[in-house]
């Protein structure tokens, strides 16, 4: 069945252990593939996986319209310190902005804390004599001879790229652009990252760090994308390649290579975007996404069809479950990204009793090796997955369609000896305790994106995915008072599947500080037009026409004197005094909603930066509402005993396939799938909709 017209879109997500591939046809046919990641060259697994799908399905390279890709190749380069050798040029007197950071540490009382090493060591940071003031006026002209000397010194050190970030350049880029010309003259093919082009915004540390990160991952991302393209070409897959960005929008492979800083947190974005689009199709206004895998759980919030975005991330910060207030871990990257709260609780999290006699879950994890006790690979410390096995929630014999054998007796024995006996409990009571504490930990992530922003989670639906998300969703929803859970199709591969729902997006921002009231708005209006034009030009370059693009504007505002901003959408059309008044009012309303109060009408509101998002809509339309899995479902399993606490005791629980839920069904029930297990709590009602989503009502 050699397709003449390309009709399939592909979503590919690369994880540390597995590469997940989903193919979606125009009419809803879905092929899935989970293969081991090719760690040396991630591109290999993508091509191999596609060829395997072709072999199984009769499709070929000509069947593929486009490939959408979420990748951790950039963030891994940072985590493993395997990025480029970067040279940095800064203003005289400010050589150490990158290393001084904000002086703050993420852990109190910890004498062993080590700062993340700077991505550019001090001897590769050179200063030039120049000075621009905060208003953009040149105080000391650039000494061009000095600049040439510094560029040559870096070239002599054989740097792979040069980053340039001068003080106050957001207000006037002339000196940065002059240095850019000097570099281009002396090393015509050297990749560069210029702060004014990368992030024309105030705050020197954030701008320097972002510019450096961009330079640091640039060669590795370019190399990777070239290798992937080459592999696809060799396999005769001419489809175009789109990359998922941290902000939840796609970008072309060329744009990603030029601004790799935008794809650093690419990995988890697909699932959130997919959930957002699914929710919109189902008519849900407000959802919380919950993505739980083996080592971490991530939550995010979608409201009125809007994914919540954070303006700044800390790459490689690890998981700071203690508090979102403690910063200083990781590398600061100021680009918009889907706002995720992440905690270190997954299936592999260790469960133990501490010196004070309390039961603790995580944050340390059994990892892939030795893994949970029930995998029989040498693990001895009970984990959250072992609890699910002891409780009968997860199959006592196998997982991943038989690829992974489970030893339930070993898990039960570990709970008995290490947890139950010292605490005077039965093994199932101990396991249920671990399960509930793990759920309570995950609730903290959900609170971080809901109650901590003034949102009551009870009005939200919970979209659960990832290998373990659907297993914990009921417990979490019950504790938070959430009434509805949605488990999307291919829940365990949803980070890939979600990519198929995304649009192309480009984000632009520029610092523009002034009080809204009484401001001369003409320059603001002009600057916004300029950014909108840049967004439009980028979309045209990507191949979009006016008919399939949207350009939306927003403003970052605060009360004068505050140091943090709220982002407020700006209506289309000329920005005049009436729009300014409208923005002030909308800011006040949002401030009250998020923080519980707003200032009086006399309190001046300050514009801090202007932002534009250009969006290019997929021409092949969205994802069909009716989906059809081509992978045959496994047989329904035998009913088994599962433990739901003292009030229910051990209950004989049916083990079902997803399709068995066409007729609504009362819990308890377990749905076993290739890539995930869904737990339906006693008393909850589960059903299946036309889109293949499981809905659980509590």
């Amino acid at each position: 069945m050699a397709a003449k017209v390309p009709t399939f879109r592909v979503g590919v997500d690369i994880g540390g252990t597995f590469t997940d591939i989903v193919l979606l046809g125009r009419h809803g046919a879905i092929h899935t593939k989970k293969i081991s990641s090719s760690v040396g060259n991630y591109a290999e697994a993508i091509v191999d996986g596609l060829l395997e799908v072709f072999a199984e399905s009769g499709l070929n390279g000509g069947s593929i319209e486009e490939i959408r890709h979420g990748t951790t190749v950039a963030s891994n380069a940072i985590l493993e310190h395997k990025g480029a050798r970067v040279g940095l040029i800064t203003t005289k007197g400010f050589r150490d902005v990158l290393e001084l950071r904000t002086l703050r540490m993420p852990r109190l009382y910890d004498m062993s804390w080590e700062k993340p090493p700077p991505l550019v060591e001090r001897y590769l940071r050179r200063v030039v004599d120049e000075r621009v003031d905060a208003q953009g006026d040149v105080e000391r002209p650039l000494d061009e001879t000095d600049a040439k000397t510094q560029v040559d010194a870096l070239l002599a050190e054989k740097v792979d790229t040069i980053a340039v970030c001068l003080l106050n350049s957001f207000a006037n880029p002339a000196h940065e652009l002059a240095i850019k010309a000097i570099i281009a003259d002396r090393a015509p093919n050297l990749p560069m990252s210029i702060s004014y082009e990368v992030l024309p915004e105030i705050k020197e540390y954030e701008r320097t760090s972002t510019t450096v990160i961009n330079a640091y991952v640039m060669p590795i991302v370019a190399t990777y994308l070239r290798a992937l393209r080459k592999g696809l070409d060799a396999a005769r897959i001419p489809a175009r390649l789109l990359l998922m960005q941290s902000n939840g929008g796609l970008t072309t492979d060329q744009a990603a290579a030029e601004r790799p800083m935008n794809i650093i947190e690419s990995g988890p974005a697909g699932g959130v975007v997919g959930a957002e689009k699914l929710a919109r199709a189902k008519g849900f206004d407000k959802i919380i996404t919950f993505d739980m895998g083996g080592t971490t759980a991530k939550a995010s919030m979608v409201e009125a069809g809007q994914v919540m975005r954070a303006q700044e991330q800390s790459v490689g910060a690890g998981i700071m479950a203690s508090s979102r207030l403690l910063t200083g871990a990781g590398y600061t990257l100021k680009v918009p990204a889907i706002d995720l709260a992440e905690i270190g609780a997954g299936g592999g999290s260790h469960v133990r009793i501490d010196a004070g006699g309390a039961l603790q879950v995580g944050p340390d994890s059994a990892g892939a090796l030795p893994g949970p006790v029930c995998y029989g690979k040498g693990g001895t410390i009970p984990t959250v997955t072992d609890a699910s096995v002891v409780l009968g929630y997860v199959s006592p014999t196998h997982l991943v369609g038989g690829a992974l054998k489970i030893d339930a007796e070993r898990a039960r024995d570990a709970y008995k000896r290490r947890i139950a006996e010292p605490l005077g409990l039965s093994p199932e009571q101990a396991a249920l305790g671990a399960y509930r504490i793990a759920a309570a930990n995950m609730i903290r992530a959900i609170r971080a994106v809901s109650t901590e922003r003034g949102r009551d989670p009870r009005g939200f639906a919970l979209f659960a995915f990832g290998g373990n998300g659907p297993l914990f969703a009921c417990g979490i929803a019950q504790a938070l008072g959430i009434k509805r859970i949605v488990v999307p199709p291919a829940a365990g591969l949803f980070s890939s599947f979600g990519l198929l729902y995304a649009d192309v997006e480009h984000h632009f921002a520029r610092t523009f500080r002034r009080l809204l009231r009484g401001a001369d708005l003409a320059p603001v209006d002009a600057a916004w037009r300029e950014l909108a034009e840049a967004a439009r030009a980028q979309l045209v370059a990507d191949g979009f026409t006016d008919a399939d693009m949207q350009v939306a504007r927003s403003a970052a505002l605060h009360y004068k004197g505050q140091s943090y901003e709220l982002v407020i959408p700006v209506p289309d059309g000329e920005v005049d005094a009436s729009v300014a008044a409208l923005l002030e009012e909308r800011f006040g309303v949002e401030h009250e909603r998020v923080y519980g109060h707003r200032a009086g009408p006399d309190e001046p509101v300050e514009l801090v930066s202007i932002q534009v998002i250009g969006r290019g809509m997929s021409r092949s339309g969205g994802v069909p509402t009716e989906l059809r899995m081509t992978r045959p479902e496994p047989d329904a399993g035998e009913p088994r005993l599962a433990y739901f606490g003292a009030e229910h005791g051990w209950v004989t629980t049916p083990v079902l396939r997803r399709s068995d839920l066409k007729k609504p069904l009362q819990g308890p029930a377990i749905v076993e799938e290739y890539d995930a297990t869904v737990l339906v709590a006693p008393g909850a009602t589960a059903s299946l909709d036309a889109g293949g989503n499981i809905t659980i009502d509590l």
Partner: protein
């Protein structure tokens, strides 16, 4: 294993819930406040106590506030235990009646269930101004509390839900920025409100009796963890002495800090007897602040998972005689006691290092330097610029001191230079590491930085509170002390040397430079891996000359290589000339004989 009286799983869930409350209170303050002191310096704390005022959970907390809430709650109970009702909210800041220093205003709200008091929501925030003779109420040169601002004894801000407008009016008329102070008071009330809502859910879920029992268990649990950890430390007695240069009023008169640790079994006594009598300048501590410094240092050698509450404090007794620098009595001025607090933590590190030689760091830069520039523009509108930063840690027995990382006692963030320049009549002309200041050692001290400030308006008052000029950051177990702090006017021209504490007129175009002191080193510098010395020279943290004179490492700066033979020779000569019979435990000053041998 201790048998607990409550179900361990229920307990873990409960503990999670009450610490979430305290954390969410902290987030509420953080997001609501206007003031940079609260936001950038996180100079505030939140907590949750049981109905008798015993602290059960602290939220994210400024370490300097660790001991403050229990002391403040004691004062509330002393005055109002029998005169408290639903809807009451308490306010206070008096250092001589439960407070710390005047800018720190406490707000407490009791929570009732069916007429029974089950809990208190607790907040303390550093306010931008509480009146007194100097803007910011932070002056280090006041000599009595009466000059420092508005003293608020424990009082009811709300009585049965009704706001006491008299108190608000008194505050409004006595502070320079009432809008900001009231805004931050609102943040504190909002945090209490959040706590009340969430605690109601807890009580609804568990019932009042279980809730009471669990709050006790939360405290007992922390006590068990603390005692178990203390039991693992050696028994004995250790003392340590350190000096503050002076109080900025009696110039040149050093101030002694002296601490003795007595550890027996599962209990630790921290005794400050022998420290200086209280001083005239405003750097006197309250006992609660001395407790905070003591707890902070002890905590750094205990496991990280112990929750902060009354249970921890039960196992650590802090003694400090009244009338001394660590426990001032009327009319002691205390606004700038931050300096003493930081240095007590460092003094504690010294004592702990005698107890646990391989686990504790040498002295860092001694905490933040306070620099403030204030005045009026030509149209009489005021400006105040305040800069409190620090960043060089002492070396550790296993690693170098951190470069550019806040002192553990106050995890402060640095304001952006670009934002400062956009908002203030000030240019920051340099903010950079300074080479050759870190104390040498097998592990070197943290590298300090300097900051240059230029005034861009007609005139202002420049006030600086720095220290570690005469008494440098000590090195441990053979490590050298860090180099002293420096202050200059016109640093790249006339380079006029200024004292460590000063108040002077600052004129348009003048440039002031502060150079922080370097962190102390740890271990014998001649044992430092030459590759690490080379790396520091390459990165210009260390000059090649100092590499030779301090470490005996000879470096070829053309090819960036180590001359191994010459290094061996120089190190041998240095070892012979210094005449150590044993490694000096503490070093305050360089040994000149070693330098000579290197030359």
């Amino acid at each position: 294993m201790t048998v607990t009286t409550v179900d361990p799983i229920d307990f873990e869930l409960f503990k999670n819930a009450v610490f979430s409350i305290a954390d969410e209170m902290a987030l509420t303050v953080f997001r609501t406040t206007y003031s940079a002191v609260l936001k950038d310096n996180m100079d505030y704390s939140t907590g949750f106590a049981d109905g008798d005022g015993r602290l059960a959970a602290q939220g994210l907390t400024l370490p300097g506030h660790l001991g403050s809430t229990p002391t403040a709650l004691e004062a509330i109970m002393r005055h109002f235990a029998d005169d408290m009702a639903p809807g009451d909210v308490f306010i206070m800041n008096d250092p001589f009646d439960g407070g710390m220093h005047l800018p720190d205003i406490f707000v407490f709200k009791p929570r009732y269930h069916n007429g029974e008091r089950l809990a208190f929501a607790c907040t303390v925030c550093h306010h931008t101004d509480v009146g007194g003779r100097v803007a910011g109420s932070n002056a280090s040169d006041s000599t009595e509390i009466y000059a420092e601002g508005l003293r608020i004894a424990p009082m009811k801000l709300y009585e049965a839900g009704r706001l006491n407008k008299t108190i608000m009016t008194f505050i409004e008329k006595n502070v320079r920025v009432p809008v900001m102070v009231f805004g931050d008071l609102r943040a504190q009330l909002a945090a209490c409100h959040i706590a009340e809502q969430q605690f109601a859910e807890v009580v609804a879920k568990w019932g009042p009796d279980v809730t009471k029992r669990m709050l006790q268990e939360t405290i007992d649990y922390a006590e068990r963890l603390t005692r178990a950890a203390l039991r693992d430390l050696p028994d004995g007695e250790w003392s340590f002495e350190d000096w503050i240069d002076d109080d900025g009023v009696d110039y040149g008169k050093p101030i002694r800090l002296f601490v003795t640790l007595r550890k027996t079994g599962d209990k630790m006594i921290v005794d400050w007897t022998g420290s200086n009598p209280q001083v005239r300048g405003a750097i006197n501590n309250t006992l609660s602040y001395t407790k905070s410094a003591s707890y902070c240092a002890v905590r750094s050698v205990l496991p990280p998972n112990i929750p902060n509450n009354e249970g921890v404090f039960r196992a650590i007794e802090v003694i400090c005689p009244p009338g001394t620098i660590g426990n001032g009595v009327l009319p002691a001025a205390c606004a700038a006691r931050g300096l003493t607090g930081f240095r007590m933590v460092d003094c504690m590190f010294g004592a702990l290092a005698m107890m646990l030689p391989d686990r504790v760091k040498a002295a860092g830069d001694g905490g933040n330097t306070g620099i403030s520039v204030g005045g009026y523009f030509s149209d009489r509108s005021p400006f105040v610029y305040v800069d409190f930063t620090c960043g060089a840690w002492g070396a550790r027995p296993w690693a170098d001191g951190l470069d550019g990382n806040s002192h553990m006692f106050a995890n402060m963030a640095l304001p952006s230079v670009e934002v400062t320049e956009a908002e203030q009549p000030i240019s920051v002309l340099a903010f950079e590491f300074v080479p050759d200041k870190a104390g040498a050692g097998k592990w070197r001290g943290g590298v300090p930085y300097m900051r240059d400030y230029r005034l861009n308006t007609e005139e202002a008052t420049l006030q600086v509170r720095s220290d570690r000029r005469d008494f440098r950051p000590f090195g441990l177990y053979g490590g050298s002390p860090g180099m002293a702090s420096e202050n200059y006017l016109d640093p790249d021209g006339e380079k006029l040397v200024l004292p460590s504490k000063l108040t002077r007129t600052f004129k348009r175009g003048e440039v002031f430079r502060h150079v922080h002191p370097g962190g102390g080193g740890w271990g014998d510098p001649l044992e430092r891996d030459p590759a690490l010395v080379l790396r520091d020279v390459r990165n210009e943290f260390l000059s090649a000359a100092k590499a030779r004179s301090d470490y005996g490492v000879v470096i070829d700066t053309q090819g960036w290589t180590i001359d191994n033979a010459a290094t061996e020779r120089v190190r041998t000569a240095m070892r012979a000339s210094r005449g150590w019979t044993e490694v000096p435990k503490v070093q305050w000053h360089d040994a000149p004989s070693v330098r000579k041998a290197a030359e």
